[in-house]
């Protein structure tokens, strides 16, 4: 008889269809199915594939019949669930599949009472990073010499971005090579140190897992109960991973964190934009508030940025001190480096670089890690929220 003692386990779906169609034995899908079937949640928020493999769409499932649609990996979908939950789904009991950045955003929102931690199951997915869809299409044309339309599936494994074509063949290119040429994962993902979301209830993935199984790290009591009950109710089967499997997983994580730190040094220090570059960037700003509006952590109903005394009547581009500066002073300590602000900036301002750099310095000084630490940032203003 299996006991819930170990922190690590291997799991897969008992349902044959989910086990075959799902990633790594479909354990995550099976957990969602269990939660919906038992009416422990009202909905499951996850990604489904839209028009093609480059198109991931946040989808709310309210019955377990649709679970099968959500199976399969989508690395070209740099989505953010944090504010989607706090703004649109706060009144639901929810289970959500989260990348580490989603989990970080949710954690900060929980601390700010924008998401109720009691009504949400966070099933974390290990993440080596995501690729912008259009970047992915371009690099598949250039480096793989393949029409992006021909790609039916993709995966990231052993440092390679691997594509599967409609004729069943595979092609792989080293991510290092892609990134050296300005392609590959988003800049934020390259710099991200949180690869295994230990800020969720469970952290699931294929690292260290044998084929057809999901490696799960149980993080919280809630996560522990979920796995235990899903097993008892016949939704998943579990077994204990070997010491070797645990070691492999640890090694992969270690390598990726080391690489992320290298990228942090490169992009936040060595190649960090000079003052002149920033002047140029701020000059482009159209004050569209896209950075603020997409920021999962910005939730104030009344925003200081819209206060009249900060705006100059004849300004063409906003004064960086009273616009970006004010936003930076409010948010940079809490920045989880999700990169959404930079993703959506119409004027290509590398905003996340400055935020990530500030949070990193703050973290070095105070020990506060946005999205991971249990408390609020020490300088958190009581005015906000």
């Amino acid at each position: 008889m299996y006991k819930m003692e170990p922190q690590f386990l291997l799991a897969k779906a008992k349902d044959e269809e989910i086990a075959t169609k799902g990633e790594c034995g479909g354990a995550v899908s099976a957990l969602f199915k269990y939660l919906l079937d038992q009416e422990l949640v009202d909905g499951v928020l996850t990604l489904t594939r839209g028009d093609d493999v480059y198109d991931g769409i946040p989808t709310l499932l309210e019955t377990s019949d649709d679970i099968i649609e959500t199976c399969g990996s989508l690395h070209c979908a740099p989505t953010m669930f944090g504010d989607l939950i706090s703004k649109q789904l706060a009144d639901m009991r929810l289970a959500v599949s989260v990348k580490p950045c989603d989990a970080m955003a949710i954690k900060e929102l929980e601390k700010r009472h924008q998401i109720d931690s009691d009504t949400i199951y966070k099933v974390g997915l290990n993440c080596g990073g995501t690729v912008m869809p259009i970047t992915a299409r371009k690099m598949i044309e250039m480096f793989y010499d393949v029409d992006p339309k021909e790609v039916v599936a993709e995966e990231i494994d052993k440092g390679k971005f691997i594509i599967e074509l409609s004729d069943g063949t595979h092609k792989a290119v080293e991510i290092d090579e892609l990134e050296e040429k300005g392609f590959g994962r988003r800049g934020n993902c390259q710099r991200c140190e949180l690869k295994i979301p230990r800020n969720a209830d469970l952290a699931c993935g294929n690292w260290g897992a044998e084929s057809g199984w999901t490696f799960i790290e149980v993080v919280t009591e809630k996560g522990k109960e979920l796995v235990e009950n899903a097993r008892k109710n016949g939704y998943i089967v579990v077994k204990t991973p070997s010491d070797k499997a645990i070691a492999i997983r640890e090694k992969i994580e270690g390598v990726m964190i080391k690489l992320a730190r290298k990228f942090q040094d490169k992009y936040l220090e060595e190649n960090y934009p000079a003052q002149d570059n920033w002047d140029e960037y701020w000059n482009r700003c159209i004050k569209c508030y896209a950075c603020r509006d997409v920021c999962p952590l910005c939730f104030c109903k009344e925003c200081d940025l819209e206060k009249e005394f900060y705006a100059d009547e004849n300004e063409i581009a906003p004064d960086p001190l009273t616009f970006q500066g004010v936003r930076l002073s409010h948010m940079s300590f809490s920045c989880v480096n999700c990169g959404q602000c930079e993703d959506v900036c119409p004027m290509e301002i590398p905003l996340a670089r400055i935020y990530h750099r500030m949070q990193k310095k703050y973290r070095d000084e105070t020990g506060f890690i946005a999205g991971v630490s249990e408390e609020l940032p020490p300088l958190y203003s009581p005015e906000k929220g």
Partner: protein, 366 residues
């Protein structure tokens, strides 16, 4: 209960993709559509706010003027509209629209006009007359060596402005021209030239001309009056530069492909010539209120409560962009499909269906 669905932004002619967040059948927000090749999930404020169009200021029931405007059944509204249309000669009927309708609506309108024998038809063309040359693509803008910009593209059409920024980062020379002292595009250009009037631009254009070659693009955003376009076009067509007129509305280019382009003067003339006006998705009261007052009968089909609707004799409530299927053609000439995502409010109906039913009642074969 919650759905995220792809659509095309209705705010300008660049053709950006945007995702709508639909909660309980109502659009409550937008979400980045990163898969879209034009804007990759980036939208300007207008684009992100576009969902409000679906929920505000909508026409929800057919109306007929009986003293004031009164709610009536579709049957009554269409009967009245069709019998009025039948009672005028083709020369006495005018049909005008805007650049905000779908290509399918323009096709249907065109068929109705042809079948009725109505020649007074066209769309409110704003700054651009009809043209017929190959325009620059967005990728060509991004890969230009020199970009000449007339108007404030960065501010007015930020996702086209983004291509200018990207070109600049790759080393392109940016020259911009406008009527005011300082513009956002100007402060982000290598060279900014302020002119006193558009006619001066023709002169300046000649000095810039030698700097342009086949890897240059000319973006024309701000143009007044419409007649200047021909002059400017003549100048730049002498160079090998690619030209991109930045049209105003989301489907102005589609409208141009189907219907005559009407300048302010053309519209005024048309309105003064006809007795019955059938307006689809436009608000002529906002630019020609005096001429409208002299009309005998106005039929308005559209989705918003506007001045024209309020002074109409029959109002046919149509659908807003995310409530119908069809296509928009962007200013670069790319046709993109849109699908119905939400239901139109109240008794409002799909516009093509309204047109077809009206045509049937008139007794037309389309």
């Amino acid at each position: 209960m919650l759905k995220i669905a792809h659509t095309i932004c209705p705010s300008c002619s660049v053709g950006c993709g945007v995702n709508l967040i639909i909660k309980n059948q109502e659009a409550v927000g937008t979400y980045p559509y990163k898969r879209h090749p034009i804007n990759q999930g980036k939208n300007c404020k207008k684009g992100r706010d576009s969902f409000h169009l679906l929920n505000e200021n909508r026409l929800k029931t057919p109306l007929i003027k009986k003293g004031g405007l009164e709610q009536v059944s579709w049957e009554e509204a269409l009967d009245t509209a069709s019998s009025q249309m039948k009672s005028y000669t083709p020369n006495e009927i005018g049909i005008i629209t805007s650049g905000n309708c779908t290509n399918q609506e323009y096709e249907t309108l065109k068929k109705i006009a042809e079948s009725l024998g109505v020649e007074n038809i066209g769309y409110n063309a704003g700054a651009f007359p009809s043209f017929d040359f190959e325009t620059a693509t967005l990728d060509e803008v991004e890969n230009s060596s020199t970009i000449l910009i007339l108007g404030d593209v960065l501010k007015e059409n930020p996702l086209l402005g983004r291509r200018v920024i990207l070109a600049h980062e790759k080393g392109a020379k940016i020259i911009s021209v406008d009527l005011v002292q300082k513009t956002l595009t100007g402060i982000n250009s290598d060279e900014y030239i302020q002119i006193g009037s558009m006619s001066e631009f023709s002169e300046i254009g000649k000095t810039i001309l030698p700097k342009l070659n086949e890897s240059s693009t000319v973006l024309i955003e701000n143009l007044e009056p419409i007649e200047e376009f021909e002059n400017i076009l003549k100048i730049f067509q002498e160079s090998d530069a690619k030209i991109l007129p930045v049209m105003e509305e989301c489907n102005s280019r589609g409208a141009m492909n189907h219907l005559p382009a009407l300048s302010k003067n053309d519209l005024k003339e048309l309105l003064e010539k006809v007795k019955l006006l059938y307006v689809v998705g436009d608000d002529p009261a906002s630019y020609q209120i005096e001429s409208l007052k002299n009309l005998n009968f106005i039929i308005t089909e559209g989705c918003f409560v506007n001045e024209t609707a309020l002074m109409s004799d029959v109002v046919l409530p149509g659908s807003c962009w995310a409530e119908k299927s069809g296509s928009f053609t962007s200013t670069t000439g790319e046709t993109q499909n849109i699908s119905k995502i939400v239901e139109a409010p109240g008794d409002a109906r799909d516009d093509v269906s309204i047109m077809i039913e009206l045509a049937e009642k008139i007794g037309l074969e389309l």
